[in-house]
Symmetry: C2
Subunit: 287 residues, 2 copies
């Protein structure tokens, strides 16, 4: 028996909190347009998210260690992909990895996460590209002058990555303007940390706090995943109508039904919600 048994059973560790954050994220309802406790998509079922979270844990355990963060991410995505729904949590895992690394060093702060990001290397970028071999991910065309870095090539882009000597921090900085997760990587997770504070200050079941945080995140910024998978007008609409829910001008349940039906899926916002739930759990929010 280790010492931490003296006050009862051991608490969840960093990896368990990351996994639980993924589970609480998908359970939270209503999250308009997303799979949640009450809604599935045509080809992506709640069960796929459960299997995705469980499958990702060995990779998340690497993220909590000292090895390359890119390999941890690639391993997490590989494990996540062992279910028939396809991409359930690619973006959530990308958002989580630097947070898990920082938390494993007791440095889950803006500075701690910035440090984890700053340490990434060209090899981490190669692993990041390999992760796209495991699962189809909806992404935009790459920025001007970066077509050799199109992530849709998966590991096929690795020669170009090495040629350009691009660390994962560099790549994220290039992508930050059009990608909500890359922006968090680059800026020290400001939106995630604010959403975590909201979850901490909220009350009720933690998954429901996550759903409320999701609405605030969606209302504050366009979800690029909606712009990519639907169009820019739908992305604007999603943000405006999330604000309308917060202003009590729209019903969240009705909006959730409508968005699922129309295929408007604010996936990046869900990814950041998972990240914020992780931070909140690490800060002691009790389930």
């Amino acid at each position: 028996m280790s010492d931490d048994r003296s006050d009862g059973p051991p608490r969840r560790d960093v990896v368990q909190n990351a996994e639980l954050a993924l589970l609480l994220e998908v359970a939270g309802t209503p999250k308009p347009g997303n799979v949640d406790r009450h809604r599935d998509h045509a080809d992506l079922h709640f069960d796929h998210f459960l299997a995705g979270a469980v499958g990702a844990t060995p990779g998340l355990r690497l993220a909590a260690g000292d090895g390359p963060l890119g390999e941890a991410f690639e391993r997490a995505v590989g494990g996540m992909s062992r279910q028939r729904g396809g991409n359930s949590q690619f973006g959530a895992l990308l958002a989580l990895c630097p947070l898990v690394r920082a938390a494993s060093r007791d440095a889950l702060t803006r500075e701690g996460v910035r440090a984890a990001v700053a340490e990434t290397t060209v090899e981490d970028t190669c692993s990041f590209y390999r992760a796209f071999d495991h699962v189809g991910v909806a992404v935009d065309d790459p920025p001007e002058g970066m077509s050799d870095l199109d992530v849709r090539q998966g590991s096929g882009a690795i020669p170009a990555v090495r040629e350009r000597d691009l660390t994962l921090a560099d790549l994220m900085a290039e992508s930050a303007p059009g990608d909500g997760i890359a922006a968090e990587w680059t800026d020290g997770y400001p939106r995630t940390l604010r959403a975590a504070e909201r979850i901490e200050a909220d009350d009720g079941p933690v998954s429901e706090r996550g759903a409320r945080a999701f609405l605030h995140l969606l209302a504050e910024r366009i979800d690029q995943f909606v712009a990519t998978t639907s169009d820019a007008a739908s992305a604007r609409e999603a943000t405006d109508r999330a604000q309308a829910v917060l202003d009590d001008e729209e019903d969240a349940e009705a909006l959730a039904e409508e968005f699922v039906e129309r295929g408007i899926n604010p996936g990046t916002t869900a990814d950041l919600t998972a990240a914020a739930l992780f931070v909140a759990l690490e800060r002691g929010v009790e389930v």
Copy 2:
């Protein structure tokens, strides 16, 4: 990279399948009277089951190893109990431990599980009693002449356990007549293995297959947990009405609403459903 990467990412291991089985069980709906994807109890929320499953994994990992099975169970229960809902999955973990041990030996058969049970010692029984210190569990009075072994004493019963030189297999055999999980331990898991076959032969999302298996399990035998927490008449009624659902004479959703409202909670049947889902996952059912 280990060899198993050559055909893509590694598959879930035994422990991951056990955890996923717990998650798929609680997600399965409708499971009349239980917490499921669409229903909570007053003090026991879906989130508590998510945290319970995640928290149980270090104990389940011990169950997949070579150490004492009772300690693995106690550790799983201790980790499960690290949430505010109380007892979410005590019985499911008890049902899973011998199955996980057998699966870790590639012997997930009636004989393999019997062997895992037969190896238990008096020390395993002591650990079993310690597990009751972590969380309140609704149980009946002990059988005649066994009041010194009342599990409600938790570790307080350990001197009597040692005095009687009672292995965990012995204790389960004594309890089998009135306890559906102890009966599985004692008889080589016949109901669990049949339910797993049903899940394998079924189709659709695996959590929904679990919900259908639940109805069959409830229809085939009185749920002792209902008899303990409600009364014998309610337990009979639960079984009869599960059969009525199978006969298309009752609506499962309406029954689920009614049972939750009346506090009729077929918990043992849910525990066996989790066990059956684990067996089905181990046998290759894909999520």
